[in-house]
C-alpha cells in the first residue's frame, strides 16, 4: 500500500510539474536556473567564492521588494536600504538586550521592517513622484545621524557585533554551503510569494494605482490602504534580506547597511532585468553580481573605480536605450515560442467543431 500511495503522489507531482512548469517556457527556464544555482556548490568552484552568490541571493530579495513597490505600485523609493538596515538592527537589538535565539529575533525583525515601512509610508501618502523620491532618499541619511548620536544603544560606527551564526555547529566550509542553501531557499520562497501577491487581485489593484490613481479611487478602491500595504510588504521582505544578511554574512549590524550603495544596487538590478516584472530584478541581481565579480574584477585588469564607472555607464545605457530590461526580453522571446502551438491547437479544435456541425 505505501508504495502505491508513493507512486500516486509521484504521478500527481509529475502531472503538476508538467502542467504548471514544463509547459510554460519562462517558468521552465526559471526552474532550470534554480537547479543550476542549487548545483553550484558541487561544481568544483572555490567555496570561498560562494559568499558572492549568498550575498546575491539576499540582495535579490531586496531588489524584488523594490520592484513590487516601484514597478508595480509606482511609489518611487530611493532609500530602500532603510528596510535592509531595519531588519539587521531589529535582530541585533533583540539579541543584544534580550539574548533571544535566532528563530525568534528574525521573525520579530520583520515586524520591525513593517513598522519602518509604515513610518515612511504614512507621511509619504500625501506625496507623489519627485517629492516621494526625495523623502525616501532622505530617510536613511537622517537615521544615520541618529545611529551615531545614540551611541550607547546602536553602537556607533562599529554597530552591534558578534551576532550568533545560523549554523554554529558546522565546520567552516560546510557552514558556507549551508548558508548558501538557506539564502537560496529564502530567495526562492520570498520571490514566489511576491510574484503570487503581484499576480493576485491585490497586485492588480497595485497596478491600477500605478496607471491611474484617480481612476482607482473612482472605482471605490481604498488607495490609502493598498499603498500602505505595498509599503508594508516591501518593508517586510526588505528587512528579511537585511536580517538574513546580518546573521549569514557579516555577523554584525552597522550603519554601513544604510549606505547609498544598498539603495542603488536594487535599482540597478531592476533596471537591468526589467522594471515591474518581479522576475526582472532576480535576473538583474545575478547579472550584476556575476558581471561585477567575474567580468570586471577577474577578466579585465581594471581598478575598482573604473569597474564601478563602467557598470554605471552600462546601466545608464539601459535606462536610455533599453528601458524594458533583459529579463523581459528573454521572457517575451520564450512566450513567442509558446504561441504558435496554441494557435494550431485552437485551429484544430475549430476544425473538429466544424466537422461535427
Amino acid at each position: 500500500m505505501p508504495l502505491n500511495m508513493a507512486t500516486k503522489y509521484i504521478r500527481k507531482a509529475y502531472t503538476n510539474f508538467t502542467t504548471h512548469i514544463y509547459d510554460v517556457p519562462p517558468r521552465m527556464l526559471a526552474f532550470l536556473i534554480l537547479v543550476i544555482l542549487a548545483a553550484v556548490p558541487f561544481a568544483g568552484i572555490n567555496l570561498l567564492k560562494l559568499d558572492i552568490l549568498t550575498a546575491a541571493n539576499l540582495m535579490a530579495i531586496l531588489a524584488v521588494s523594490w520592484d513590487l513597490l516601484v514597478g508595480r505600485t509606482g511609489q518611487i523609493s530611493l532609500g530602500h536600504a532603510i528596510f535592509y538596515a531595519a531588519g539587521a538592527y531589529g535582530t541585533a537589538l533583540l539579541f543584544k538586550y534580550f539574548n533571544w535565539p535566532i528563530w525568534v529575533t528574525i521573525p520579530l525583525s520583520l515586524l520591525c521592517g513593517v513598522g519602518m515601512a509604515l513610518i515612511i509610508g504614512i507621511p509619504s501618502l500625501r506625496m507623489k513622484g519627485p517629492y516621494l523620491a526625495l523623502v525616501t532618499m532622505a530617510f536613511p541619511l537622517a537615521i544615520t545621524g541618529f545611529l551615531y548620536y545614540f551611541r550607547d544603544i546602536f553602537g556607533g560606527e562599529t554597530g552591534i557585533r558578534n551576532l550568533p551564526k545560523v549554523f554554529p555547529s558546522l565546520t567552516f566550509f560546510n557552514r558556507l554551503i549551508a548558508n548558501y542553501y538557506l539564502s537560496l531557499a529564502l530567495m526562492t520562497i520570498s520571490s514566489i510569494i511576491i510574484y503570487k501577491i503581484a499576480t493576485s487581485k491585490t497586485g492588480i489593484v497595485f497596478i491600477s494605482i500605478l496607471d491611474d490613481e484617480l481612476g482607482a479611487k473612482a472605482c471605490g478602491i481604498n488607495v490609502t490602504k493598498y499603498k500602505l500595504m505595498s509599503f508594508a510588504i516591501s518593508g517586510l521582505f526588505g528587512s528579511l534580506a537585511g536580517s538574513a544578511y546580518a546573521h549569514l554574512m557579516v555577523g554584525s549590524a552597522s550603519p554601513s547597511y544604510l549606505d547609498f550603495s544598498n539603495s542603488i544596487i536594487p535599482i540597478i538590478a531592476t533596471i537591468l532585468g526589467g522594471i515591474g516584472t518581479i522576475y526582472g530584478p532576480l535576473v538583474g541581481t545575478y547579472i550584476y553580481y556575476l558581471m561585477n565579480r567575474y567580468v570586471f574584477q577577474e577578466l579585465l585588469p581594471l581598478d575598482q573605480t573604473t569597474q564601478i564607472l563602467l557598470f554605471i555607464i552600462v546601466v545608464l545605457l539601459f535606462v536610455i536605450k533599453w528601458p524594458r530590461g533583459i529579463g523581459r526580453a528573454i521572457v517575451e522571446k520564450l512566450e513567442d515560442l509558446e504561441e504558435p502551438r496554441e494557435i494550431e491547437e485552437i485551429e484544430k479544435e475549430r476544425a473538429k467543431k466544424a466537422e461535427k456541425s
Partner: protein, 302 residues
C-alpha cells in the same frame, strides 16, 4: 548669540539658496527632477580648484588677485558646457519618464563621482582644498566673520538679481517662463524646446558650479567626491521649504533653513553629529506637516 545666529544664518542661507537655485530652475522650466545638479556642484568645485592652481603659474604677480575671479568664471562656463552636453546625451532622450529620469540622473551623479576619482588620483579621499575667496576677518555687529563668507553671500545675492533680470528682460528668459507656463502654447509660438532645455541645463550647471565653489570655499574648506549627496540634501530642503519651481520661494527657503541651522548650532550642545542629518530631518518634518512645501502648490516661475 542672537547676532551670530542672524549673521551666520543670513550668510549660509543665501549660499544654500544659491545651491538650490539651479535645481529649482530646471524643475520650473521643464518639470524634471534633475539630480545631476549635485554632480555639477562637485565637478565645478574641482575644476575651480584645478584652474586656480593652473592659472596662478601664468598670471603676473601684479594681477594675482584676479585669479579667483578668472577661475570662477572659467569653471562656471566649463561646467555649464559639460552639464548641457551630458543632458543632451542622456536625460533629453527620456523626457517624460519620471522614474527613468530619476534613475538616470542618479547614475549620472555616480559617473561623475567615479570620473573625478579617476582623474584626481588619491586626492578625493582626503578632500581637495579650496581656499577662501578673500583672506581676512571683518567684524560686524560684534561678531567676527570671515571676509570670504561675506563676499560669498554678496555674490549669491547678486546672482539672484542677475538671474531674475535674465528671466524677465531677455528673450530667452521670457521663453523659459513661457515654457514653464504652457509647454504646447510655447511650442506653437515658435520656441525651440530642445534648445531652451539645453540652455536651462547649462545655466543650472553653471549655477551649481558657482554654488559649489562658494560653499566649499566658505563652509567646508575642501571638496570631496561624496559631496553631491550633501548638495542634493541642501537643495531638497530649501526647495521643499520654499516650493519646487519658484525663485522667490527659493531665497525664502534658503534663509529659513540657514537661520534654523545656525540656531541649532548655537543652542544644542554636541550638534556636530546630528548636523549631517539636520537637512533630512527638516525635509521629513516639512513633508509631514505640509506635503507641498511651506508655500502651497507648485508656483510658476516668478
Amino acid at each position: 548669540m542672537l547676532e551670530s545666529i542672524i549673521i551666520f544664518g543670513t550668510i549660509s542661507g543665501l549660499i544654500y539658496a544659491l545651491i538650490a537655485l539651479g535645481f529649482t530652475l530646471v524643475y520650473g522650466v521643464s518639470g524634471m527632477v534633475n539630480l545631476t545638479h549635485g554632480a555639477f556642484f562637485v565637478v565645478g568645485a574641482y575644476i575651480y580648484g584645478v584652474l586656480l592652481g593652473f592659472l596662478s603659474n601664468y598670471i603676473s604677480p601684479d594681477f594675482l588677485y584676479l585669479t579667483p575671479v578668472l577661475a570662477l568664471i572659467l569653471s562656471c562656463v566649463l561646467t555649464g558646457i559639460i552639464g548641457s552636453v551630458f543632458y543632451r546625451l542622456t536625460l533629453h532622450q527620456i523626457l517624460g519618464d519620471e522614474v527613468g529620469i530619476l534613475i538616470a540622473s542618479i547614475c549620472g551623479c555616480l559617473v561623475f563621482q567615479q570620473l573625478v576619482y579617476i582623474t584626481m588620483g588619491n586626492a578625493p579621499a582626503l578632500g581637495f582644498n579650496i581656499p577662501p575667496l578673500m583672506p581676512g576677518i571683518t567684524i560686524i555687529w560684534q561678531t567676527r566673520v570671515l571676509t570670504g563668507q561675506i563676499l560669498a553671500a554678496v555674490i549669491s545675492f547678486l546672482t539672484f538679481a542677475i538671474l531674475s533680470l535674465f528671466i524677465f528682460k531677455t528673450k530667452n528668459g521670457r521663453a523659459m517662463k513661457a515654457l514653464s507656463q504652457d509647454l504646447e502654447a510655447a511650442m506653437l509660438m515658435g520656441i525651440s524646446v530642445e534648445k531652451l532645455y539645453i540652455l536651462t541645463t547649462a545655466v543650472s550647471a553653471g549655477l551649481a558650479c558657482l554654488s559649489g565653489v562658494l560653499y566649499t570655499s566658505t563652509v567646508t574648506g575642501s571638496v570631496s567626491t561624496y559631496m553631491w549627496l550633501t548638495s542634493l540634501a541642501i537643495s531638497f530642503t530649501v526647495v521643499l521649504l520654499g516650493g519646487l519651481g519658484s525663485i522667490k520661494g527659493t531665497i525664502l527657503g534658503g534663509l529659513i533653513f540657514g537661520y534654523a541651522e545656525s540656531a541649532v548650532i548655537a543652542t544644542i550642545p554636541h550638534a556636530g553629529v546630528i548636523l549631517q542629518s539636520f537637512p533630512f530631518i527638516v525635509i521629513i518634518l516639512v513633508l509631514i506637516i505640509r506635503p507641498k512645501g511651506l508655500f502651497g502648490k507648485r508656483v510658476e516661475m516668478e
